[in-house]
Symmetry: C2
């Protein structure tokens, strides 16, 4: 409703994504409370008017960044989760692409972590809580994709017997922690990131394998 | 200096720890910015005067909680890290006790996570940054204990060849994530927590084992 023509056009979608990119960086660097719409419009390189055209306030931008982080994650893992390969191979590819995503869209994933902190502390308004609940649902759906593959692996014997709903927690911790420790190095190449993603994927799969002997 | 007699007595130490317990709960539930010294003195069950006797302001309490979180972690893992057992056994015990600690001192570890977020966003004063640097050093020392055991395990053949300084990151992520997802259940027993600690320790060790075949 209202002004759909520009917002839904290809140009509108590209603009929205560019605004979100700018917002993600600003939130990552300053945190939600310190960041202002002025900071974001400056990072985006346009007046605040254009941002207000797409997002009604700072809070809406914060949640849009988090929602996009969850969507990017789903896009990275879902095709592998639903593929016909063996569970261990599916899990390796999910963990690999999930890790690469975190390194390549660090700001989005770090803002998602900020949102989770905000949720945990509970100092939120009713409408913020409704938004956070939506995002938690997207987060839970991504987790469910991992649980599904772990369950399949336990059944097939790829993985040892375990409680998939418990073991998915350290698995996601191992991957999500990347947004805490990872900082791109000077002159880093795609190959460097590939190596990190390979190592983390190996870690994740190995953690679930049957114990030797 | 100044008033050491009461502060350093057994009674003084016990009081300080009880104040920290109260502060940890309040920071966990409200977050650093929303929490007030009134909230903390109410949770502690005494006037603000007694808190000011030990801590000069809210910020000092916030950092004292984080410092204690790092010290508790060191106390949980260091004895195992330095023991004479095989590296895989040492790592299993470290991960086990680290996880139990997080469940039993959830508020401390969650406040430590808040502090890390605050550090990442960088919206801190110079004296806060100095305090945060101190805490990061304690955090790094704990990480170094894990790296040391992973290195020993790679050398002994307990673990597969790997880069210990990289692989320690997902390992700590798997353990530290507990402070995000864990909520004590009604009627939970020490045995329930023991089971979680066992599963997470198994996950951590398994992640580093040589791959079968």
């Amino acid at each position: 409703m209202g002004r759909p023509s520009l917002i839904d056009s290809t140009e509108g979608i590209e603009k929205r994504l560019a605004i979100l990119d700018a917002a993600a960086s600003v939130f990552m660097n300053l945190g939600f409370s310190a960041a202002s719409l002025d900071d974001i419009s400056e990072a985006y390189g346009a007046t605040k008017g254009i941002i207000y055209y797409y997002y009604r306030n700072k809070s809406a931008l914060f949640f849009a960044v988090q929602r996009r982080a969850m969507e990017l994650t789903r896009e990275a893992i879902e095709p592998h989760a639903l593929a016909g390969e063996r569970p261990a191979i599916r899990l390796r590819r999910m963990a690999h692409d999930h890790t690469l995503l975190m390194m390549e869209h660090l700001a989005y994933l770090r803002v998602a972590a900020q949102g989770l902190e905000l949720h945990l502390t509970g100092r939120t308004t009713a409408s913020e809580r409704a938004e956070l609940e939506e995002i938690l649902k997207l987060r839970a759906a991504n987790e469910a994709l991992y649980v599904r593959v772990i369950e399949a692996g336990v059944q097939s014997g790829d993985f040892r017997p375990m409680d998939p709903k418990l073991l998915v927690k350290p698995l996601l911790g191992a991957l999500n922690w990347t947004s805490r420790w990872y900082h791109p190095r000077k002159n880093e190449t795609a190959k460097d990131r590939e190596r990190v993603a390979d190592e983390l994927a190996g870690f994740a799969v190995s953690a679930l394998l049957p114990h030797p002997q």
